[in-house]
């Protein structure tokens, strides 16, 4: 293991001996079987592996959407296993950005309102919200689509709005489970460009899962899962 190698102060995600079993089904599934992982601030990391290897399970647990059977998760130094359900919801709202595979956006809200939504939940002032939404919508290249509803945007545009929304509360990191799975190659490239730019210029931490070789090629660290365990963990130049 590479644990000693990292400067612990810079880590945003710290996972120790993470196990997750699904026991509600007849055949018990051991989706994660002891995962140790540290993600540092500013990483651009892909989680890959065959279908059923545990990528989604891992990302859900990191994101506080699911609780592990064993082990613990520290985000920004906070052990999220110690939080109550409502505390966990607030923690997600304030510290984690999510981009899901599809249908990320609230259909009845415009792109601007979707980006603004979490800030509204945080009770930020109107002025702060307006400034931040404009900044983010410009950053994702959709300043001219502020007032469109999700169904008036292409899949790629929707994912970019989702990235903007994820960034709105200035989270510690962004988790994205197969964000390009439903996109064509042009939109995939655009979204990856956007994420890479945000990562390099703003220092935003991204952790994403994918099956797509073109996406894997853009990552600077690739963690490969197999049968709920880390098979390899490579850094690229």
């Amino acid at each position: 293991m590479h644990l000693e190698k990292f400067d612990m102060k810079n880590s945003v995600i710290e996972i120790r001996d993470l196990k997750k079993s699904y026991t509600e089904t007849k055949v018990h599934v051991h989706a994660l079987q002891g995962v140790d992982l540290i993600i540092e601030k500013g990483e651009f990391t892909a989680i890959v592996g065959p279908s059923g290897s545990g990528k989604t399970t891992l990302l859900n647990i990191i994101g506080g959407l699911d609780r592990p059977t064993h082990g613990n998760v520290k985000l920004n130094g906070q052990d999220i296993g110690l939080l109550s359900d409502n505390q966990l919801i607030d923690f997600r709202r304030d510290h984690i950005g999510f981009v899901f595979q599809s249908y990320n956006l609230i259909p009845v809200l415009t792109a601007k309102e979707n980006v603004e939504f979490v800030m509204l939940l945080q009770k930020q002032t109107q002025a702060d919200r307006d400034a931040r939404t404009l900044e983010l919508m410009t950053a994702v290249g959709l300043a001219d689509r502020m007032h469109n509803r999700p169904n008036e945007l292409s899949g790629g545009q929707q994912q970019r709005v989702a990235v903007a929304r994820a960034l709105a509360p200035k989270p510690a990191f962004i988790l994205a489970d197969e964000p390009t799975a439903n996109l064509d190659s042009k939109s995939t490239a655009d979204l990856l460009d956007l994420m890479a730019t945000l990562n390099q210029e703003e220092g935003i931490t991204f952790v994403f899962s994918t099956h797509d070789q073109r996406v894997i090629d853009r990552a600077r660290r690739v963690i490969t899962l197999e049968d709920g365990k880390i098979r390899s963990d490579e850094y690229r130049a």
């Binding site: 959407l65 919801i89 997600r92 304030d94 939940l121």
Partner: protein, 406 residues
Amino acid sequence: MTTLVKLAARNIWRNRRRTLITAASILFAVFFSILMTSIQRGTWGHMVDSVVRYHFGYVQIHKAGFWEDRSIDNAMHPEDLAETLSDAPELRSLVPRIESFALASLGSRTKGALVIGIDPSLEDSFTSLRNRVAKGSYLANGDDGVLIAEGLAEYLDLQINDTLVLISQGYHGTNAAGKYPVKGMVHLSNPELNKQMIYMELAAAQWFYGAEGLVTTLVADLNQASAMDEFVGFARSRLDTASYEIMDYTEMLPDLIQARELDLAGGQIFLLILYLIVSFGIFGTLLMMVKERSYEFGILKAIGMRSSQINIMLWLETMALGLIGCCAGVLFALPIIHHLKRNPIRMQGNYAEAYEQFGVEPVLPASTDPQIFIMQALTIFAIISLLSLYPILKIMRLEPVKAMRN
């Protein structure tokens, strides 16, 4: 909070079809419950009104104890009473009667009868007795003849201008007897009355019973039936209730009231079934709604919206739908109920005959009592409020990971 209101409003608007289906099912629930209740209440109102106005009136005043024994000894002087009650605003007039039992005979046939002295014009304006004269003519003031019910006339085998012999006990034990020419026959559709009624001019009857200037009964002719309780209260406060009995129709006609209560209770069961069906319908739409939107709720919870906030949003949506549906139901029902009040449904066949036998027009008019509209709308709204707990429970248990797995 404004965010939640905005979200709720947009959700209602976005899913217009679901909104329409839900609101429509609420509308029909409210409409049918109003329709049912209003026809049932209206029909009973009409029935009671017909029966009451036919003879008894809504309120009668007697000397205490008269209703029990119908004894002529319980006669009273009407003038002071009339004076005391004259300023009751609901009172149109006090219709005087003197009534007691007598034996009526013609030749060898004899039968018990209710011989009742009336003021011909006051009685007619109150019960329309003149319209019921089937043969001969109506009584006039100072008349010395009698009107006899057809049923009784038939039993005695009597014709117009025959002379009827009446024998009874008069006031304070005097003998009452007299011969009276039959001036007319009246058709009384109430079978009880048709078997025993004999009408006489008031003064003649007072003379017959040896009770000059006295009456046994004052029937209050009221401006409107709904003023009854007010008038009874007024009369009871003004009169010495130890000496006088002030009776409303519910005390005089307990059988009718019992029949009404029984029928209304049946109606309540029917309503309950209606509410149940409607509840299932509305519950179905809520069930569908939660299922269809669980992915969306999953996202909302994942990105940091608390269950309580989602619940407020859903609750607002459901309440708004309930409000729209209930108001629409009332608005929809109003003109139809008003129409059915003016042009009531007419019964046919056996039912119609049964009604007509009791002198009741065989119609089912609707009641436009605003209380019916308000109560039914509120009841359905309460049911919806209760049902809206289901999505709330669902949301509290919703796990984003499961909700988004599809």
